[in-house]
């Protein structure tokens, strides 16, 4: 891989690039699916190619090819330079990159059991064991639709730039995805999507206990269907479970604090941000709200050691004690803001330019047990998980519709409620947090951004949190 990347960079420089980088990337993946007990196709993907990014006269060009023939690599490097040059006449602010240390490294995410070596039979056995655990007798609910997926990927990247960085990285990922539909006569249907994923080998699946995870989810669906009542409406106290805390941190803190959105670079697609350049240091939430994005969490789904601009990853504290503290930067936005990159540039394939992405975004825990969070609420709702959610493209108006949710009565969890709706503004939400739990859990997700779309693996998470006097109901 190194000789291909080096060839691309050298050719780009010869063609007139002021800066050049190349990434040779190989992705190999397999997906197995059991649909209502019968097998869907075993599918696999194999991708190998090179992406070349250049800056010429302050203009950025990117070109990719999945031919690794020397002539084709040279041609792609020339195309990147030529198109960047042509665009220079319509550039108002020349693109610059913040200076960063160059690295030479060879890193791998830890993998004890190579998933690629696990037999198809063993993988199907896992899915079959889940299917068995979902029998109505065991979970006490009818599940007319059960889609069970096991997905593994291995990504190998070789990054090389004209400043001397030379980095090889290897990340295995493993995912279990459950799509369950529960049904109860006279009560309708209810649907749940549950995603477990880590940057690890097959050992992760062995630790998850997939049949138990699936059975728990199914029993929950049955209970909500059978016993769920209409949720209360109006101003109320809420406790949000880790899954809901996590999606909130991702959607209304991580995204709006991506510096490329703040600068308008995603304006036509993923949108801009309610956060403006002068809002660093401004209060956006209560003193209990600290939100961190950390790509270095071991085994995490969003794990990486270096980003796709060759910058070494580190945790980023986005909101500290309720105050906007740090933005997510790549080298381009860091130069614009006069800071260093914090290694947020990620690309999901050889043919995608690196753009600013989250890694693993979560709320920092404090010291409340769940019982203590609930104990202080006379009448409220505990929203443990969600199904429907969305947020506007400035990341200000958001909505989360509870899936597993319960009435809180005199500090105790009571009857399930169906589809409680939290529709709230970002400062309205963060400003109402008055206590944060101590047990952190993470959920896996695929975050969409960029054009063409790049689905990036991330974790979202945090502890349960309590928010006071918030409007429930759409």
């Amino acid at each position: 891989m190194e000789d291909k990347a080096r060839l691309a960079v050298e050719q780009a420089l010869r063609s007139g690039a002021d800066y050049a980088e190349a990434r040779v990337q190989r992705d190999v993946g397999h997906t197995l699916t059991l649909k209502n007990g019968t097998a869907e196709p075993v599918t696999s993907t194999r991708k190998l190619g090179i992406g070349i990014r250049v800056i010429v006269d302050g203009s950025m060009g990117f070109a990719s090819t999945n031919s690794l023939e020397s002539s084709q690599i040279r041609a792609s490097a020339e195309t990147a330079v030529k198109t960047a040059k042509a665009a220079a006449r319509l550039i108002s602010t020349p693109t610059k990159l913040a200076p960063e240390k160059s690295w030479e490294d060879n890193w791998e995410a830890r993998m004890r059991i190579d998933t690629q070596q696990v037999s198809i039979q063993e993988k199907f056995d896992v899915l079959s064991s889940i299917e068995k655990a979902l029998s109505p007798e065991q979970v006490n609910v009818s599940l007319p639709s059960r889609i069970l997926l096991l997905d593994d990927e291995l990504t190998e990247k070789f990054y090389f730039n004209s400043e001397g960085s030379k980095i090889r990285g290897l990340v295995p990922r493993i995912s279990l995805f459950l799509m369950l539909t529960g049904e109860e006569k006279g009560k309708g249907t209810i649907q749940r999507m549950h995603h477990e994923a880590q940057s690890r080998g097959w050992e992760a699946v062995k630790e998850w206990n997939p049949p138990a995870i699936a059975a728990d989810q199914a029993r929950m669906l049955g209970r909500v269907l059978r016993e769920g009542v209409q949720p209360p409406r109006g101003e109320i106290d809420l406790v949000l479970g880790s899954e809901v805390t996590g999606i909130i941190c991702h959607e209304s803190c991580g995204h709006p604090q991506e510096a490329d959105r703040i600068l308008g670079r995603e304006g036509a697609q993923a949108g801009e941000s309610y956060v403006k350049r002068d809002m660093l240091g401004q209060r956006i939430g209560s003193e209990h709200v600290t939100i961190i994005d950390d790509p270095t969490l071991p085994n995490s789904y969003g794990f990486y050691k270096y980003d796709d601009e060759g910058v070494k990853a580190r945790p980023r504290t986005l909101i500290k004690d309720g105050i906007i503290a740090e933005l997510l930067h790549n080298r381009e936005t860091a130069a614009e803001f006069g800071v260093s990159s914090n290694a947020a540039a990620r690309s999901v394939a050889y043919d995608r330019e690196p753009i600013i992405r989250m890694g693993n975004t979560f709320m920092k825990p404090e010291d409340y047990a769940l019982d203590e969070l609930l104990g202080d609420i006379k009448h409220g709702v505990y929203m443990k998980s969600f199904m429907e959610w969305n947020i506007d493209d400035r990341r200000y108006n958001q909505r989360y519709v509870g899936l597993e949710a319960y009435i809180i009565e005199d500090g105790k969890i009571g009857t399930p409620v169906r589809n409680p709706i939290l529709e709230v503004t970002t400062p309205g939400l963060y400003g109402s947090v008055d206590a944060v739990g101590k047990e952190v859990e993470y959920s896996a997700a695929t975050c969409g951004k960029g054009d063409p779309q790049q689905g990036a693996p991330v974790w979202t998470g945090g502890p349960p949190i309590r928010i006071r006097r918030i409007r429930l109901g759409g």
Binding site: L34, L68, I120, G188, T425, G474
Partner: protein, 443 residues
């Protein structure tokens, strides 16, 4: 391709479909009236889909050098040996078939890599600014492709096409925005200036928006938001989605699922259609499929697998999808039949309500029931006394898909092609008046 086919035959696989696509694309992205990056892609992709004794396997190979196709086929065939038996035994469509090019889908000028995309971006930016935009963002992309399919059932054919499209987003202020789109298969039908002007006009009109209020409204949906909803309708009309249990058209064939005003079809052979192609990925000729006729659900889209399972005829809708199913039925060009109203008549019929130009982030609470919400994006305007009124913001459509489809009261005679980041399938759609739509707002 023949090598892959022979390898699968040698390994005892009953049916195989092999695909190959060669494409060249270029994309110019811009924001704040300035180009941010130019992307150029050159890609060759091979696909293999195997079917044997009710079992299936598939592989997407995006790798030109060193890909050992025979070993990939062997790996797939081996995986089928231990795969639990599927629920239907079926074969691929029996060829040979005759294919003919679809009219107006290839423009030599677009097959060249340098197609003046930078000029198109500049044209769109200038047009939007002329209408009142302060800042303009967007993306313009063009490309050409050739696609080949050969199957063990005797189908063999190819198709080629070109395309160019632009999405322009104009900002009159940070939260007064508008979007315009132009999409075509040839340069002469492409109009980036018009897309820029539309975006700029909406953005300027959206200045000074006040917070909207929750309630039930008569809504005029612009082509962009209705195209997004129609894309969800087509997803639900895919037999694959039905089979998964994630369709709001479950057990709905022959039933009234929408107002009599709505007629929707998919056409893979539409002349000048941005999604047109001569054959599907199982080698079956593409064609027109009536999905909803005067409110009644007529057909699902099918692959050979779903057609066998639901005892239906093929629709030429098979598209290779490496993620889960290998082959899924999916639409090519979605066409909503026009109504007989002018846009102004729709406002007049609504009298009081909202005109929503665009949306994003559509998510379902339950795919079977169709309960969902989606966020209004870009200009949203009050309708007062049958005329456009003041801009409003911060609103969300929170309703049910079937209820919305059944509450369509009128459609415009004017239609627009839509495809953009949120709407992957090219969709030709009018403006639409819908009654009693649930609208919510954050606090």
């Amino acid at each position: 391709m023949n090598r892959i086919l022979s390898a699968s035959k040698k390994l005892g696989v009953k049916s195989a479909a092999v695909g190959f696509t060669r494409s060249r694309d270029q994309m110019v992205r811009f924001s704040n009236n300035s180009i941010t990056v130019v992307n150029s892609w050159q890609t060759e992709v091979s696909t293999v889909y195997l079917v044997s004794n009710g079992k299936r396997a598939a592989c997407r190979i995006e790798e030109q050098d060193g890909a050992e196709f025979e070993s990939v086929v062997k790996e797939l065939a081996d995986s089928m040996k231990v795969t639990p038996r599927g629920d239907v035994d079926f074969g691929l469509p029996k060829g040979p078939f005759t294919y003919s090019d679809v009219e107006g889908t290839y423009d030599k000028r677009l097959a060249e890599i340098d197609t003046g995309l930078i000029d198109a971006a500049e044209n769109a930016i200038n047009s939007a600014r002329k209408e009142g935009a302060q800042r303009v963002s967007g993306v313009v992309v063009s490309g050409s492709w050739e696609h080949f399919v050969i199957t063990s059932a005797g189908a063999e054919g190819s198709s080629k096409g070109t395309g160019i499209e632009i999405t322009v987003r104009a900002f009159a202020t940070d939260d007064a925005t508008g979007q315009g789109i132009s999409i075509a298969t040839n340069l002469s039908r492409f109009d980036p200036g018009a897309a820029g002007a539309t975006a700029g006009t909406i953005a300027k009109r959206a200045r000074g928006a006040t917070a909207g209020k929750s309630g039930k409204y008569s809504i005029v949906l612009g082509p962009a938001i209705f195209a997004d909803l129609i894309d969800r309708v087509a997803d639900s009309a895919s037999a694959y989605t039905v089979d998964l249990g994630f369709s709001f058209f479950q057990d709905s064939l022959g039933k009234k699922v929408a107002s009599e005003k709505l007629t929707l079809h998919d056409n893979g052979r539409l002349p000048n259609g941005p999604g047109s192609i001569a054959l599907d990925d199982e080698g079956y000729p593409t064609g027109e499929t009536h999905l909803i006729t005067k409110g009644t659900l007529e057909n699902y889209l099918h692959t050979s697998y779903t057609a066998a399972k639901y005892n239906a005829r093929l629709t030429g809708s098979a598209q290779f999808e490496a993620g889960v199913a290998g082959m899924i039925p999916a639409p090519r060009n979605l066409i909503v039949e026009p109504g007989d109203q002018r846009f102004e008549n729709l406002l007049d019929k609504a009298q009081t309500g909202l005109y929503i130009t665009n949306n994003w982030y559509t998510r379902f609470q339950n795919y079977q029931t169709g309960d969902f919400s989606t966020i209004c994006r870009d200009g949203v305007f009050e309708i007062k006394n049958g005329k456009l009124g003041n801009p409003v913001k911060g609103l969300r459509v929170s309703d049910n898909m079937i209820r919305i489809l059944q509450s369509i009261e009128a459609l415009s005679n004017e239609r627009h092609w839509i495809r953009w980041w949120e709407v992957p399938t090219p969709t030709l759609t009018p403006y639409v008046l819908v009654r009693d739509v649930g609208i919510t707002a954050s606090k």
